[in-house]
Amino acid sequence: MNFSAFLQQNIVCLDGGTGTLLQELGLRPGEHPERWNLTHPDAITEIHRAYYDAGSNVVCTNTFGANSLKFPPDELEEIVRAALSNADAARAQSTAPQEKFIALDIGPSGKLLKPLGDLDFEAAVDVFKRTVILGVKYGADLIYVETMSDSYETKAAVLAAKECCDLPVIVSCAYGEDGKLMTGASPAAMVALLEGMGVAALGVNCSLGPQQLRPIVRELLRYASVPVIFKPNAGLPESVNGKTVFDVTPEEYSDVAAELIAEGVRLVGGCCGTTPEYIRAVCRKTKQLAPIPVEPKNLTMVSSNTHAVVFGGAPVLIGERINPTGKKRFRQALIENDTDYILSEGIAQQEKGVDILDVNVGLPEIDEPTVLKNAVESLQAVVDLPLQIDTSDIAAMEVALRIYNGKAMINSVNGKAESMAAVFPLMKKYGGVAVALTLDENGIPESARGRVEIAKKILTVAAQHGIDKKDVVFDPLALTVSADAAAAKITLETVRRIRDELGAHTSLGISNVSFGLPARAPVNSTFFALALENGLSAAIMNPYSVDMMKTYYAYKVLAELDENCEAYIAAASSFTETVNAPQADIPADIPALKRAIVKGLKEKAAALTKERLADSDPLDLVNSEIIPALNTVGVGFENKTVFLPQLLMSAEAAKSAFEVIKATLASSKTRAEKGLFVIATVHGDIHDIGKNIVKLLLQNYGFHVVDLGKDVPPATVVKTVKELHAPLVGLSALMTTTVPAMEETIRQLRRETPWCRIVVGGAVLTQEYADAIGADKYAKDAMETVRYAEEVMGE
């Protein structure tokens, strides 16, 4: 019988800890246990055999850290070969009667993935692939990805396994006491991600004892439609009289295991501190139990790297603002590669209360796959909302889904054969919930019945691709009422019928309905209310619209979705449009805007700028108030009367004033630019707080800053400086270990771009260091960089 078939019918007993046993046999701290496959094959075989004898159906090879980051290729192959051979020998030796399988064990790579660490996602996939290929070659029955503490790395490992073999993949993660993975994912988020990728089972292992993991397992059982794994530690290690002991006995351990099997857990074993004795106790207590069938939960879920959003409760709001259509400032940001602008849009919508962010960067003049990939990578580094990948470019869609850290929403597929053939395979591979438009080769049906028929067709084809109804959310298309008086009624009827007849969820782009009308807001928000009452699950909408948000909160109150009206009450203060109160507290002799900037009042500076622009020339405002304010604070900082936080608050206030002016002018030139400044944190360095401070100040002082980010290879700096013929480059490094990368960057810049001046800074740098590596200038802080840049441009 193969493992998948066995798993369908049975409770599966896994093995217990290996590391603890090896330490008792003499494994030293820091020694690689994987090498023991070669040096102590008998000891490894004996441990595996003891687990089979105790009743384990699955033994995991001693390959937890066997990967290409730790071992050279030849040794890696030898280790994996020997590991499989040891497990196989144990299986042959054991006389226990149960079914026996061998799992290729895969633990974390040991590195943290970007952006938190330095391992690239594709590099991680490659690392895991090398091990999987060897495991398959030497005869594993299944792949077991375990002790994962980062959702992104887990995705890389599962993707690697899926791309290299057809073996079943089971996955368990190490949850902390806060009930989350180290990098923040909740159990529901992991269910969404892993089920989307088609794993055979998922669950918990390591980190905590059986009692502490129990609530996490219950959470998994609530969401998962695949079997759940329970493989805890024997409690926590304690030091008793200088000896390390685990605090949970085999009896206590197996009691919890038996209880959880009765609640639905299907695979059970042990991690650190557990021994064959624990497994024997578990097998004894669970032998008589019948496996609880795994029920499909039919939950429509998308996830980010921290949490899942489940459809069907409160309406799901999908923020539509990351989209260049009709937005001059956004188009400009895309063309100029201004990632900060996109991020600010994302963060601002999150603060307004949306659940999901739609991401659309489609412009004819850009390379969409590259720009969309960058946008998704940047957004998921700072915003923890699930993303809706919105593109008609299939190549861009695949790139984005591949690197997305979670289960994404996909916008969109439709009833055309070509569309379904392109999108469904991507969903099957990477997971995802598709927005399915009810249109096909014949266009949009005029009747609700016609649209429901297309929805049915889409579900049939999805099923042929192995995609479940729960992963399709229909968009029955809101058409314009000013063009067709019945448009809204037909859409509403379609929403209702899809819910009632198909039992599926729906999503609508709301604002289309009012196109062509004056004062669109009341039409939109009323339509939104009607759609919700007809069963709409989600809306793609503008969260800055007060009317829409009023409707959303009011609906939740009326539909019994807001306990004690708490959300409504909390939001109520934002329902009135803010009116700028007269600035009574500012003395007449100091211009109000200047004062707001000196004081670091961001919102006030923006509001005052807006007000003043009604009767002032923008350039006048810049020269008479904003610049003098910046100078006051800058000089204060240099004289040590103003501290760094104050300097930055003022800089932020000035930036917000500049943003208002930019929007008014519909051009990025708020004043004559002083020059181009390319800035980067050097290769190998993943911290950029200092660089960002310098960037902010340079921008305020009128420099056009091209920010290459962190961990930037020398060649990228050189290429950019060359292309832009930039007169100035700023490089930052935090640690002595990355100064050589800075030196190399300078060496290449000197060779390729001799015209360019180089200023360096960062925690470890000193004047001596800067001289030694050939920089033109060492700047001890951000103001000094500004002054140097001004000096160079003044020459």
């Binding site: 603890t20 330490q23 701290p29 820091g30 020694e31 633990g107 040991g110 590195k111 943290l112 952006p115 938190l116 660490g117 330095d118 002790t147 503490s149 980062d150 902390g176 006491e177 806060d178 180290m182 990098t183 923040g184 390591c206 926590l236 290690p237 304690e238 030091s239 200088g242 390390t244 900060d340 991020l343 600010s344 963060i347 580094a381 700072v382 915003v383 923890d384 004081k599 961001k602 501290f643 760094l644 936080p645 104050q646 930055l648 608050m649 800089a651 932020e652 190998g684 360095d685 993943i686 911290h687 707080i689 960002n692 401070i693 640690m735 002595t736 270990t737 990355t738 000193t766 001890k780």
Partner: protein, 218 residues
């Protein structure tokens, strides 16, 4: 075997935060910023330590910890008189790194303040841990000594990471350029001796970097 400990938030030293944020004192702006940031990060932090008790033998400048060792005159001097030591790694988790990344875009002033709080928090966690070690082993602890201090090569990080298996135990990993993620993390060796160790009255007194911008006036 490596042991693991979780902590509640140790007491916060506000003056240290302001010092790390580049303030030579406190002003209203910094205070408001601090209050806002403190409220926002409180729930994002997890205080975790993994550690391994070790026997120490120092011969010339070689510090022998049994399973591993390192040559460093400064560490050897630090461990003078110690028969035991503890190697540890501490972290306050990755949540703060996410916040810093977010505010680097939105508000560098907040990013700076959150970074400063994080630095104070990890130092406070290490202080708390070392204090506990003294009590638990009933020995007196030397000032903790980290890779990169004095002549102790930064690459000694790799040794500590492999011995403590930091990734598995507390989710701490290290990059090729020896940077730790989560960034607010510390690894160190704490020497333990029978006789009462002299503690420096000010932390900065143990460091040779006289030109340091953060050298405490406090």
């Amino acid at each position: 075997m490596v042991l693991i400990k979780s902590y509640d938030a140790p007491p916060l030293d506000e003056r240290e935060v302001f010092r790390y944020a580049g303030c030579r004192g406190e002003d209203d702006t910094a205070r408001e910023l601090f209050d806002a940031c403190r409220a926002e990060i409180a729930e994002k932090l997890t205080y975790r330590v993994c550690f391994l008790p070790l026997d120490v033998r120092v011969a010339d400048d070689f510090c022998d910890f049994g399973a591993f060792g390192v040559t460093s005159a400064n560490l050897a001097r630090n461990l003078d008189g110690c028969a035991k030591a503890v190697a540890f790694a501490a972290t306050i988790g990755v949540g703060i790194d996410r916040l810093i990344a977010k505010y680097s875009v939105l508000s560098p002033a907040k990013a700076l303040m959150i970074d400063a709080i994080g630095t104070e928090r990890i130092e406070a966690l290490c202080d708390q841990f070392c204090c506990d070690v003294e009590k638990e082993y009933r020995l007196s602890a030397k000032p903790r000594f980290s890779p990169g201090y004095g002549d102790l090569n930064l690459s000694f990080q790799n040794e500590i990471f492999s011995v403590l298996n930091c990734r598995k135990h507390i989710g701490l990993s290290i990059s090729d350029s020896l940077m730790m993620s989560p960034s607010k993390s510390v690894t160190a060796i704490v020497g333990l001796c029978e006789t009462e160790c002299k503690k420096p009255s000010r932390k900065c007194d143990t460091c040779g970097n006289a030109g340091c911008a953060f050298r405490g006036a406090l």
